[in-house]
Amino acid sequence: MDFQTVCTYVPRELLEAFGLEAPRLIPPGTVASESRGEARSGAGACAWCKSALGSADQAGALWVGGATCDQMRRALELAGRASAAGSLIIGVPKTRTAEAEALYEQELRWLASELGRRTGRMLESGPLRQAIEARDDIRARMRAVRTRLSGADFTALVHREETLSAERMIEFLDHYIIPAPRKPGIPVLVAGSPVATAELDWLRLLEDSGLSVVADATCTGDRAVDFSVGITGADDPLEALARAYFRRPPCLFVRPNDEFYAYASRLVGERGVQAVVWRSVRGCDIHALEAPRAARLLGRPLLDLDMSYGDSDSPRIRTRVEAFAESFR
């Protein structure tokens, strides 16, 4: 059976401890995939979920994801119905209390039991520790090269990390050569909806227009690797995994979302960010509705872009990006 994960709140280490390859589905972010997905989801779903639904070969795949936002959990349900295998959806608490953290750990334990039931294997401490250490190593190595990479190249690296097994990712990093030095430009933070594959063009557009993406608070940017589990000998590995994922730089959906802004503000300060590009894909309320607060709380000029997947390199977006960049010269 194929396993497919769709959210960064599902620790892939847990699936890897069962010997499973569980790539995270990064949607292509093309108009065609969005249209195919819309036929399965209805028009009101967000572009990311539609593209995901429209791109995967769903037959037989078991979808594993989190009840993070309305769109994601219902897209998982739809994907599970389309596949014969169904879906495994864990609850991801929105509040940040100790009780919520314990609930999240409980959800991971439920997921482990379901994976055990479906694979006929038991979750063992040794393989889980190995999986955690491997992913911690990968994240550390990606953080080490981060500041030398352009925004597009770093996101491409994150996409690769999300889809490759730990073993293959380590092999890839062993031979990784920085594709091109980062272009100088106005240092910006990118935040908002996750960046799909085809939207690497959009990041390139930013950087060709005089902006330099030095920080990326999306879940396909710095937030993907800015944490480690840091397991010690005495730790229960599943407990440590739950703690680390719950306390990682959070998605904007947490309530209150002060932790997200604390993280983003830290990036702004540490990396000399002068401006923010806040981008929401069509239908993503979580990010689109937050733009006015982001402008205030991050204290930098903010370009608010609401984009469909047909927009990545469109004249409309190009003009707005260029005008924004021009305002700093």
Partner: protein, 455 residues
């Protein structure tokens, strides 16, 4: 002698009201309890700006007058409560649980600011709430509940609460984003988690939610300066169960009888009262008792407000434009079950266990925090219980949960029951769509009648 059951237009409704006043032997506008909230329909239009009433059709019973008056006078009631020194708690999103906790203390009045989503409809956009929401970044892509944000910003519709109790978790992204915005307004706010529920409610999830509600209890206790005890909570639960029991009987008679003894619009309002009792729990019980007596009387007399052969339909989701329910009935439909997103507020709360656990159990029945298949099962149960011939899924434009779950409900209803399903979308003012909506209703009823006669 009560008038024969009928639906009447606004002018007739006002005339009926004047006659009712003379029957009561009272002078207009000077009622004593239990009619303290009774107001002329015209005054709600002319003084409050509730102009949509002019375009609606109403049940002609005194009980329905009382029901409407009770609903429409809520903001006055809240203002009076504040003047009387009561604490006002704004409860958000859980729809029917935290409000009971607040009502455990007699010095507290609780209401759902979420209810402001109907203001643009009731006032026919004259209040400008959606424009204010637009300017605040909550545009058409968001559910009409964005009117709530605007009502907080312009402070013209309800008193700003002394405390906000906000459920977040797996319930609704639109509301979650909206409440995050309210958190900047310096109103004391307590967040509590309403978690994702996969299937049946696990005991550990009940314990978790009970602990969340304990935080809410502490916050409300802190507001009033004394502890809300388990005994106080149990008493509030018993009263809430009286409301739920009355509603169960009203629903059974209204949705299970042909001809329908009470119209769709009024039964919808009755159901809504279960959420927070319209800011007066005792009067809420009296209003519903009155409605139940009326409905029972009509059923016993074989009287109804619709044709006996109306097409029997389960209605899914509340409509943003109340007029859509009138249109549905005018064209030949009758409600045979509902799923308005607060089913959990209609189910009796257990009285044989610690009150916070009982409330947690009740909260965890919320259809929004479960799967779309769970909602589909509720719809299927309703259809079976009330012998429905079809299902209408009334989408709420911009509502994040509506985007995908209609598809699942449709598939499940068709797979399990083989009933026809109609999906529509109703904005706050649907006048521009009325031709299209009417055609779709008529086509749908044609399908039902054809199936009725030809299988």
């Amino acid at each position: 002698m009560p008038a024969r059951a009928a639906k009447v237009d606004y002018e007739t409704w006002n005339a009926e009201f004047r006659k009712m006043i003379s029957d009561f032997g009272e002078s207009a506008g000077e009622f004593s309890a239990p009619f303290s909230y009774l107001g002329t329909p015209r005054c709600f239009v002319e003084l409050e700006g509730d102009s949509r009433l002019r375009r609606l059709w109403f049940d002609n019973s005194p009980a329905a007058h009382r029901l409407w008056s009770f609903l429409l006078s809520e903001n006055d009631r809240l203002a009076a409560a504040r003047q009387a020194g009561k604490k006002i708690v704004g409860v958000m999103k859980d729809l029917g649980t935290a409000s009971i906790l607040a009502y455990a203390a007699p010095e507290v009045v609780a209401f759902y600011p979420d209810g402001a989503w109907w203001i643009p409809c009731v006032m026919e956009m004259s209040e400008g709430l959606l424009r204010i929401a637009d300017a605040a970044g909550f545009g058409d892509e968001v559910c009409p509940v964005r009117a709530t944000l605007a009502a907080f910003l312009n402070q013209a519709h309800f008193p700003i609460p002394d405390l906000l109790v906000a459920a977040v978790g797996a319930c609704c992204d639109d509301m979650s984003c909206l409440i995050q915005r309210l958190a900047d307004m310096d109103i004391p706010l307590v967040w509590w988690e309403l978690p994702y529920r996969r299937g049946d409610t696990a005991p550990e999830l009940v314990r978790f939610v009970a602990a969340e509600l304990e935080r809410v209890r502490k916050a409300v206790s802190g507001l009033i300066g004394r502890t809300i005890t388990d005994d106080m909570l149990s008493a509030a639960i018993r009263k809430a169960n009286i409301v739920r029991g009355l509603l169960a009987r009203i629903r059974d008679l209204s949705y299970g009888t042909s001809p329908a003894p009470f119209p769709a619009l009024e039964t919808q309002i009755c159901e809504m009262l279960a959420i927070h009792f319209c800011s007066d729990l005792d009067e809420c019980i009296r209003v519903l008792e009155d409605v139940l007596r009326t409905v029972e009387g009509r059923v016993a007399a074989g009287e109804g407000v619709l044709e006996r052969d109306a097409c029997r339909v389960v209605w899914v989701n509340p409509v943003a434009d109340l007029r859509a329910m009138n249109m549905f009935e005018d064209l030949g439909g009758a409600l045979a079950g509902t799923e308005y997103l607060f089913r959990h507020a209609l189910i009796p709360i257990r009285e044989d266990r610690p009150p916070l656990e009982a409330l947690a159990e009740a909260a965890l029945r919320d259809p929004m925090i479960g799967t779309a298949e769970y909602r589909a099962r509720i719809v299927i149960e309703e259809a079976r219980r009330y012998r429905a011939e079809g299902v209408i899924i009334s989408g709420i434009p911009g509502a994040s949960h509506c985007a995908t779950e209609g598809l699942v409900i449709r598939e499940e209803v068709q797979r399990v029951l083989g009933l026809p399903v109609l999906e529509i979308s109703v904005p706050p003012i649907a006048d521009a769509l009325s031709g299209q909506l009417a055609a779709r209703f008529e086509g749908f009823f044609d399908v039902i009648r054809t199936k009725r006669h030809h299988g």
